[in-house]
């Protein structure tokens, strides 16, 4: 399900392929960035940098390293974390009400939030609070298992399976 043809064309600096890649991955990359930066203007700035980087560094990606989605995910996460650590970010106002993906979904002030075509909101609402935390840290924030186990104070050996079960529940709700 990975668009290998497009990726190959992108690596040959095909602008049309790049436009399609943007279409396919910009929203998810933005979701990751937004979950870390929590400011739409700043998140868009980061997204621009991320796709410029994707264009420029496309030839460094190979299937041997992992999923193309994961490659983009890592670039987006790192860029967003860099932004959060930057001076300009620390001086700016942040949306302190929302600090994970569920809060973002439930934030009543977030009128701009896109129409929830798959009813994601209702699915995530059904997630256990710990699941939300695990998915937030591992997926959105890019924590390692060790970091997550320390942060959540749960045994390291259980992180992987707990995370799997949480995602399975989400997948089941989404009709997988």
């Amino acid at each position: 399900m990975q668009p290998d043809n497009l990726i190959e064309l992108l690596q040959k600096k095909d602008q049309k392929a790049f436009a399609k890649i943007y279409e396919m991955y910009s929203e998810s990359a933005y979701g990751i960035i937004y979950n870390i930066v929590l400011d739409s203007d700043l998140a868009e700035e980061v997204l621009q940098d991320v796709f410029i980087k994707i264009w420029e560094k496309a030839d460094t990606y190979s299937t041997a390293k992992g999923r193309f989605f994961t490659w983009i995910l890592n670039i987006a996460r790192n860029a967003a974390i860099d932004k959060v650590r930057s001076k300009s970010f620390k001086n700016s106002k942040r949306n302190l009400d929302a600090d994970n993906f569920v809060n973002i979904l439930e934030d009543s002030n977030n009128l701009n939030l896109k129409i929830d075509t798959i009813g994601l909101k209702s699915f995530v609402k059904k997630l256990e609070p710990l699941c939300i935390k695990v998915i937030d840290l591992l997926y959105f924030k890019g924590f390692t298992q060790v970091e997550a186990s320390e942060q959540l104070d749960i045994p390291l050996g259980t992180i992987k399976t707990r995370n799997r079960n949480c995602l399975k529940a989400l997948r089941a709700n989404m009709g997988e």
Binding site: E27, I32, Y34, F69, F143
Partner: protein, 258 residues
Amino acid sequence: MTAKEYIESGILELYVYGTLNEAENKDIVAAIAEYPEVKAEVEKIEKTLKALAEHTAPPVSKNVWNTINANLFSAKVRTLQPSWTTYIGWAASVLLLVGLFWMFNQNSSLQNELVEIQNENQELLERIISTEESLAETESLLNLLRDKDIKAINLPGHAPVAPEAFAKVFYNQTTQTVHLDARGLPEPPEGMVYQVWSLKMDPLTPTSIGLLDDFAIVDNKVFVLQNIPESEGFGITLEPAGGSETPTLEQLYTLGVI
């Protein structure tokens, strides 16, 4: 590990998250290549995660793509444009420089020409002045000849000293002036000078009326002598420089009687 073990372990989720270390990652890449079920599971996980991320943020504004495009692609056009205009700019500067150099050369050669022409003009002007002067002189001589009071006396050469020599005197008794045309006389030898005499006949009395000191430098050889006493004839003798009290008759060059 079997495909099922991979799937159940929960490591595939972490693989898609991108939080595995390098060794673990390599292991999963190999498992995906080996087991189609593992690959299918990974794709399902990715689909869910992608949807989750897509739905937990506001929509991305169109400006983002426009900015990316502008940064990546019109930026390239922009870097090309300067190089194009730079070439034109350089070419124009070189042309300008060559043009300036050419104009500078033109200018200095024109200035040289101008100086030359100014010099020529000066020369021509001087020639006109001298021509006008000599014309005025000639006209005044002509007027003199036309004067009704003038008497023209031929002074033929006096053998044996200078049989070829001759002179002409234009004598105006009223103004007591003589114009002497001495063109027919040879150049006087070094240290000698022509002396002009007025003559009265009965008895023969010569009176000196002038020395032709500047014989060599007067071009038309016309000399003006003034305060001429009443004369009945004129004679020219060659005398030592400074002239003599009385004419040296052996050196009588020309003689004429009215």
